[in-house]
């Protein structure tokens, strides 16, 4: 009998968490494709680099198709079409179709504001498996102000409705920070009202644009505690109805996050210009040479052998206090981009870690900024950012 027993917890293990997969640096299960940096929104916490790729540098339709075929061939199972705003590319339907034809599971990560019902329907017909729509708040006053785009919130609600009408599963992505955390209970309700399957409560991570806007975005410790309490309560209440993924801001943590599952271990993304990156913020680290799919190397070769991917892999690159730390293979010293942004050296311990000599300073600074008066945004754009008019903030 024992050979047919099904232990509920083990029979459906989440593949990413299997240790063996990570340790061999096997090809990641999912890859993020930032097919363009163009976007009509100007969110001050945009995860794109401050130096955006111009459209002239973007990979062509044929180049992206070649990338998709190559990814499927080497064992990638899922691709996320992201940006910028992926629907800003006119060939998105063609790319989704090509990805589906090669057997890839396709996600669309979108702001939704450029979509028409017809376009969404074409994407569904092309085999799109899942739609993720970002929301900046619960009502258009705040949401449109954060996005720097009038009418955006209303359009997002409409597209979310079309998504479900077309029988596509919906994830609501809510990026949270000091100026909208009070809306979290209503955001959870909004996700239910929109018939979403999944909600991402993603606190802003402070690199790039968000780091420039940290003083306007950093939550207070009390806000964050309340946020965690609300998420835990909602997860219990909505089990089986709404999956909630939760990302906390790590400035207030004692232990750093295992960023990207460790550098070059489980994840890579491809930038609009075709560079293969260990994370979407990696280009903020200067002095690393990220190879492009336009180079004469295969994607698998870049993943396995390129200098940039191997630089911070494993533990050999570590300095103290990481080097002798008992957690070094648990969190891999936190986030390399954050270490670089806050200390100037990506090989330093991420200051989010309590063992970093800078932790106390960073924590105090975040706390002070959270209590501060600054609420004006520096909007993200190709011009290097535009400060919000004072009377709008």
């Amino acid at each position: 009998m024992s050979d047919v027993t099904i232990p509920p917890s083990d029979s459906l293990a989440v593949l990413e968490k299997q240790r063996s997969t990570a340790e061999t640096f096997g090809i990641p299960l999912a890859v993020l494709l930032e097919i363009t940096h163009r976007c009509p929104l100007q969110c001050p916490y945009c995860s794109n680099p401050v130096e955006l790729d111009r459209s002239a540098k973007e990979l062509t339709t044929d180049e992206w198709k070649k990338v998709l075929s190559e990814l499927a061939e080497i064992g990638v199972l899922q691709v996320h079409f992201s940006g910028g705003e992926p629907t800003a590319r006119k060939d998105l339907v063609e790319l989704v179709k090509h990805a589906s034809d090669t057997g890839l599971y396709t996600n669309l990560i979108t702001s939704a504001v450029l979509l028409t019902r017809e376009k969404l329907s074409d994407l569904a017909d092309a085999g799109l498996c899942h739609v993720q729509i970002s929301f900046q708040g619960i009502e258009e006053g705040l949401a449109d102000r954060v996005a720097g785009y009038k009418g955006g919130h209303r359009k997002k609600l409409e597209v979310a409705k079309w998504t479900r009408e077309l029988d596509l599963p919906l994830t609501v992505n809510a990026v949270m920070h000091r100026q909208n955390l009070h809306q979290l209970p209503d955001i959870i309700q909004m996700a239910l009202d929109l018939d979403a399957d999944r909600l991402e409560v993603a606190n802003v991570q402070y690199y790039g644009w968000a780091l420039k806007n940290r003083a306007a975005l950093m939550p207070t410790v009390a806000q964050l505690d309340e946020c965690t309490r609300l998420v835990e309560e909602a997860r219990e209440r909505l089990k089986g109805r709404l999956t909630i993924d939760y990302v906390v801001p790590d400035y207030y943590a004692l232990r750093p996050k295992k960023c990207m599952g460790g550098w070059g271990r489980q994840f890579f993304n491809i930038s609009p210009a075709g560079r293969v990156l260990p994370c979407h913020a990696a280009e903020s680290i200067t002095g690393l040479d990220f190879l492009s799919v336009r180079s004469n190397h295969s994607i698998a070769w870049i993943w396995q052998n390129s200098e940039a991917f191997n630089r911070y892999r494993g533990t050999g690159w570590m300095k103290e206090p990481c080097k002798s730390c008992e957690f070094r293979e648990i969190d891999f010293g936190g986030c390399r981009c954050q270490a670089f942004a806050l200390t100037g050296d990506a090989a330093n311990t991420d200051p989010a870690c309590a063992l970093s000599p800078l932790h106390e300073t960073i924590f105090k600074q975040a706390e002070a900024e959270a209590e501060g008066e600054t609420s004006r945004f520096l909007y993200r754009n190709f011009a290097g950012g535009t400060l919000e008019p004072e009377n709008d903030a």
């Binding site: 047919v4 099904i6 029979s11 459906l12 080497i74 199972l77 596509l168 089986g240």
Partner: protein, 103 residues
């Protein structure tokens, strides 16, 4: 619209994977996987067998009958295991069921 969610799996239910959860054999890793939004699940051998039988026509009782015959094992134990596995998948949001039209 998509099939119902928040389902409670019983002997009479006719469960089926929803459109956004795809059962597939991964040639590279030589394992079966369930592809879902932001998740890749690794169902074990029996879970794969159960899910392949869940075609929207068979109910859970039929599935248990087939497995009990195949493995010459007590039906009641199999049924309990199958329900537990499917309920776990349902709780994760990756299972729906076919219901008779009421109108």
């Amino acid at each position: 619209m998509a099939g119902p969610r928040n389902i409670s799996v019983s002997e009479a239910s006719r469960p089926v994977l929803p459109r956004h959860a795809k059962l597939r054999y991964d040639e590279t890793r030589k394992v079966w996987v369930i592809l879902a939004p932001e998740r890749v699940l690794a169902p074990d051998e029996i879970a794969v067998e159960v899910l392949q039988l869940c075609n929207g026509e068979r109910n859970v009782g039929d599935v248990a009958d087939q497995l009990a015959a195949k493995y010459a094992a007590p039906r009641e134990a199999i049924l309990a295991d199958v329900i537990a596995m499917l309920q776990d998948l349902a709780d994760k949001g990756f299972l729906t069921e076919i219901r008779e039209k009421t109108s």
